[in-house]
């Protein structure tokens, strides 16, 4: 009805690109990203903030986009899984680590893990396996049993670490923490 259809102007950046959207106040950020901006890499697994598949970074912090109204994000900088790629559109370091470690199967929960891990490694660049496990323990995965995701967090930390002299990172890794 009219109440539901009335729109509000909201402006935010997504992966560095500015967007001005006229959205109904009840439009969830997850739906705005997926269906208005067609950035379908962000997935919705439970619609109540438990599974973490919809996790995006808002001003660098991981947040559940299924629990946020898009209009509440005015002025924010949002990073989605698409924004975790390398500058050439290929895999960024966290994504590369997930690939190397077979840390995904169906890939549905994966974007939420990658965004979560990306933010986590900013705060703890060299986690132990135990810390890595703790870091991902707010996201649900039904395929992998988490074993290789834990390994991928540690591997991503390696890939992100500034290479010390004589140390090779990964053959396919072009370097840089600039996801």
């Amino acid at each position: 009805m009219t109440q539901a259809d009335a729109t509000v102007r909201v402006s935010f950046t997504v992966n560095g690109s500015p967007h001005d959207l006229d959205l109904p106040p009840r439009r969830l950020l997850s739906d705005a990203l997926r269906h208005d901006l067609r950035l379908t890499g962000t997935h919705v697994g439970c619609e109540h903030g438990v599974c973490g598949a919809c996790t995006v970074l808002v001003d660098g912090l991981p947040m559940r986009s299924c629990l946020l109204f898009a209009v509440s994000l005015d002025g924010s900088a949002i990073t989605t899984i698409e924004g975790c790629c390398s500058s050439d559109g290929g895999m960024g370091p966290v994504q590369q680590a997930f690939h190397e470690c077979h840390a995904l199967q169906c890939g549905f929960c994966t974007p939420g893990f990658v965004t979560t891990v990306t933010a986590y490694l900013e705060t703890n660049p060299a986690p132990t396996a135990e810390e890595a496990r703790e870091a991902i323990s707010g996201n649900l995965c039904r395929c992998t049993g988490y074993q290789n995701i834990v390994a991928a967090v540690c591997r991503a930390a390696e890939l992100l670490a500034p290479a010390s002299p004589g140390e090779t990172v990964a053959p396919s890794q072009t370097g840089g923490a600039d996801s």
Binding site: R38, G41, E100, C106, F108, R142, G145, Y146
Partner: protein
């Protein structure tokens, strides 16, 4: 590439946000939502849509009365069985009666899901509430009936036996009786179900995307329901966010209704299941009660085993008796049961229907058999591994015929396995023989630790068949397709590895498609750990045919003998020729030569026109029995299933105060025959173990007596997070299957099967309290301790 830990070709898209799951498609589509029954059992008195009609964006509201033709008939009973005497299936939209909370009553179609849900909120359905039947006990007591015309709530009563087991038990020197129970859980993929349908009125054709485990059968079912010629319907499986069994069921009400509405409205229509819908409107599994009588000799060898169990099949039985039949046959595991009798009753309840969830009845059977083994060991004061060893089928006894019929209607004959060797590996891996010292040491520190184990055999790779198609394009790309579907298992990588080896082409030149009926029409589906066995074999056989054809054409072009040719890196070359340009031809060029042309539409085609290619003017360009194109199709159809096996050992610590169970170690020895990609196999085991841990300690569907599912959300239904899943240690034993060209056995479900059994065994060891029900929560263990203490402290 076969046998190597090849990184997955699927990952790049999925990791960069470029996957295409169902709800990522159809941005132009109308969206559907459903009014679902809030009652477990009720008659529908009236449906009033008046208040919804003025909502902007409403397109259509449908109830049962709108369903025309065959859409108004009950949904199909997919797997009939002679003993399923009272099979019942739902209507796409409820007719007069609802039989579980969540059953679809009204469909609303609108310009967005938000509006469609607004519409549903305004629709008033008046119900006459009936008594609900919830749980096995209520179903078999049958004070109330789920379906008026199903006496005793009994869908089926089935017996299989190899002789007079009761007499064998009675005559045995030792006897035990056990009552055992397993609760309901569910597949619970992170992506729910979803359907998108596009009707092309000009072409009179339907294109359906659905998050399914069987696109070919959905296609047939939609064509039948909508009375369309099958060739007017195509079904494509996009990326699927997990299945674990639940998505093998078809056609779901929504898989009929969404295409039906799209045709009726002549507009694309999409429905994406939300999480609550998935809890109350898809399918669950596991819930069974077992009563076991077992007789054995002084050594612990089984002489007779008689099992009666009651299977809660929920409100409907579209998937037949597959789950209880698997329980009744796979219960035997790696053991010789002596004389065996199994009787099961499949019972209706006013709950979500029950269909296979990863493991498909095996976790229950394994739990029962392994509890029996532990009970015998306790009774005779024997080591638990010793009792198991004494009952193992020996490797020299393979193939071993149990004298029963398996879920595919074929004899239950184990093809391979070396159970003593598997157990020996497991004992070494977990340190079984050294554990007693650790237990004593922990006791001295006031800690309770225990070790447990469980063994299983898993029938995998059931028929009837799968097929493969392989085509070499003129640019040398190899396109491969198979009809079954993928839900994250890495099928594309695994199948590409097989083709890379068979055809001698690099992985990056191979493109694999699964689950797209436009590409491959004949298939069964993805279930029963069957893809590597069935499609793997079919694709290997197909690639061999294409290789043969390529060599024949290349031999002519190179004026060489077929026997002297090899394919290396996509080039057919004369062996040992040093691969000079004159003695080799790339597969793309062979593909050009395979298809004689009249028209030169590009450079490659120009090389194949009638004037370019030298040919014998007296022979037809395409000879008798030949076909243009460097391609082939073949099918693999095995006589019966392959049988994978494995054994798990678990070390747990239980908190003396809180009764919390912590898993200290989880060890797996796994035999799925030849490994195509160990990385992928281990990933499958990891995921299965996590689901096994969930089923053992956390997951249960909490229905109240009225049939309300109290924990229908991820907040309340406790699936394990990383913090609940232990590190998993894996070792492999390889006993190749003699039944297929690759020697493979299925690996998809294995990890989950012995979870509850092994963890129960370990908790029992830590606590000294007999465990008879799983899952086991801390509060339940706390209660068991209390009762146990009462019994032991106050003897009569």
């Amino acid at each position: 590439m076969f046998g190597e830990r090849v990184p997955r070709v699927e990952d790049g898209r999925l990791l960069t946000g470029n996957g295409r799951f169902l709800d990522d498609l159809g941005h132009d589509a109308l969206e559907a939502a459903f009014v679902r029954s809030p009652h477990a059992h009720a008659r529908i008195v009236d449906i009033d849509v008046t208040d919804a009609l003025d909502i902007d964006g409403l397109v259509a509201i449908y109830t049962y009365e709108d369903l025309d033709g065959r859409t108004g008939e009950p949904l199909p009973l997919l797997i009939p069985h002679p003993t399923l005497t009272h099979g019942r299936t739902p209507y796409a939209l409820a007719l007069d009666e609802v039989n579980h909370v969540g059953e679809a009553v009204v469909m609303a179609v609108a310009t967005s899901r938000y509006v469609a849900e607004d519409v549903c909120d305004r629709i008033r359905v008046e119900y006459d509430v009936l008594p609900a039947v919830v749980g096995v006990e209520a179903a078999r007591t049958a004070d109330h009936l789920v379906h008026d015309d199903v006496p005793g709530n009994v869908a089926a009563l089935m017996v299989q036996q190899t002789g007079d087991a009761e007499a064998a038990v009675d005559a045995a020197p030792h006897r035990l009786e056990l009552d055992l129970a397993i609760e309901r859980s569910a597949s619970m993929p992170l992506e729910g179900r979803g359907v998108l349908a596009r009707w092309d009125a000009d072409d009179r054709s339907l294109l359906v995307h659905t998050s399914t485990q069987t696109s070919t059968s959905v296609r047939q079912a939609i064509a039948a329901k909508l009375s369309l010629p099958v060739d007017r319907v195509e079904v494509v499986t996009p990326d699927v966010g997990g299945g674990f069994g639940v998505k093998i069921v078809h056609p779901w009400p929504e898989e009929v209704l969404v295409p039906w509405a799209a045709r009726r409205l002549d507009r694309p229509v999409k429905w994406t299941e939300d999480r609550r819908e998935h809890f109350v409107a898809s399918a669950h599994e596991r819930g069974q009660l077992h009563h076991v009588r077992v007789g054995y000799d002084d050594e612990g060898r089984l002489l007779g085993l008689s099992v009666r169990f009651w299977h809660d099949n929920g409100a409907y039985t579209p998937y037949g008796l597959i789950v209880p039949i698997i329980t009744s046959t796979q219960l035997l595991g790696p053991y010789k049961p002596g004389v065996y009798r199994v009787e099961f009753t499949s019972l209706y309840t006013n709950t979500v229907m029950v269909t296979p969830y990863r493991g498909a009845g095996r976790p229950q059977g394994c739990f029962v058999m392994e509890r029996v083994m532990d009970a015998i060991a306790a009774d005779l004061g024997l080591d638990r591994t010793v009792v198991r060893e004494r009952n193992f089928i020996g490797p020299e006894e393979m193939p071993y015929d149990h004298g029963l019929l398996f879920q595919d209607g074929r004899p239950l004959v184990y093809d391979s396995g070396d159970f003593p060797a598997t157990l020996a590996k497991l004992k070494r891996l977990v340190g079984w023989d050294e554990f007693d010292a650790l237990r004593q040491q922990a006791r001295a520190e006031g800690r309770r630790v225990g070790i447990g184990l469980a063994c299983y055999v898993e029938g995998t790779g059931v028929g009837p068949y799968e097929g493969g198609h392989v085509r070499v394009e003129t640019d040398g790309t190899v396109v491969v397709s198979t009809g079954l579907t993928s839900q994250g298992q890495g099928h594309r990588t695994m199948l590409a590895q097989i083709v890379a080896d068979e055809l001698g082409v690099p992985m990056d030149r191979i493109e694999v498609t699964t689950g797209d009926t436009r590409r491959f029409k004949y298939a069964v589906g993805t279930f029963a750990s069957r893809t590597a066995v069935m499609s793997g074999s079919a694709v290997a056989m197909t690639a061999r045919k294409v290789r043969e054809k390529a060599l024949a054409i290349a031999a002519q072009a190179l004026e060489a003998s077929v026997d002297d040719l090899e394919i290396v890196d996509g080039q057919v070359q004369v062996r040992g020729s040093g691969a000079g340009a004159a003695s080799r031809i790339d597969l793309g060029a062979v593909a050009v030569l395979s298809n004689p042309l009249r028209y030169a539409f590009d450079d490659a085609a120009a090389r194949a026109t009638q004037f370019a290619a030298p040919a014998d003017p007296d022979l037809p360009p395409v000879g008798p029995g030949e076909a243009p194109g460097l391609e082939g199709t073949d099918y693999y159809s095995p006589p019966r299933s392959t049988f994978a096996n494995g054994m798990h050992a678990v070390v747990v610590e239980t908190d003396p105060d809180t009764a919390e169970v912590r898993i200290l170690r989880y060890c797996v020895v796994h035999d799925c025959g030849t490994l195509i990609n160990p990385m992928i196999v281990e990933g499958q085991i990891h995921g299965g173990v996590a689901q096994g841990v969930g089923g053992a300690l956390y997951e249960r569907m909490e229905y109240d007596a009225d049939g309300q599912l109290l924990n229908a959300s991820f907040m309340d239904f406790l699936m394990p997070y990383a913090s609940e899943v232990p590190h998993v240690e894996i070792d492999h034993l390889v006993t190749p299957s003699p039944l297929n060209p690759l020697g493979v056995k299925g690996a998809g479900e294995a990890g989950v099967i012995p979870g509850s059994a092994a963890i129960a065994s370990a908790i029992e060891d830590a606590e000294g309290i007999v465990i008879t029900r799983m899952p086991l929560s801390p509060s339940e263990l706390f209660e068991l301790r209390r009762v146990h203490a009462e019994r032991t402290e106050a003897p009569a």
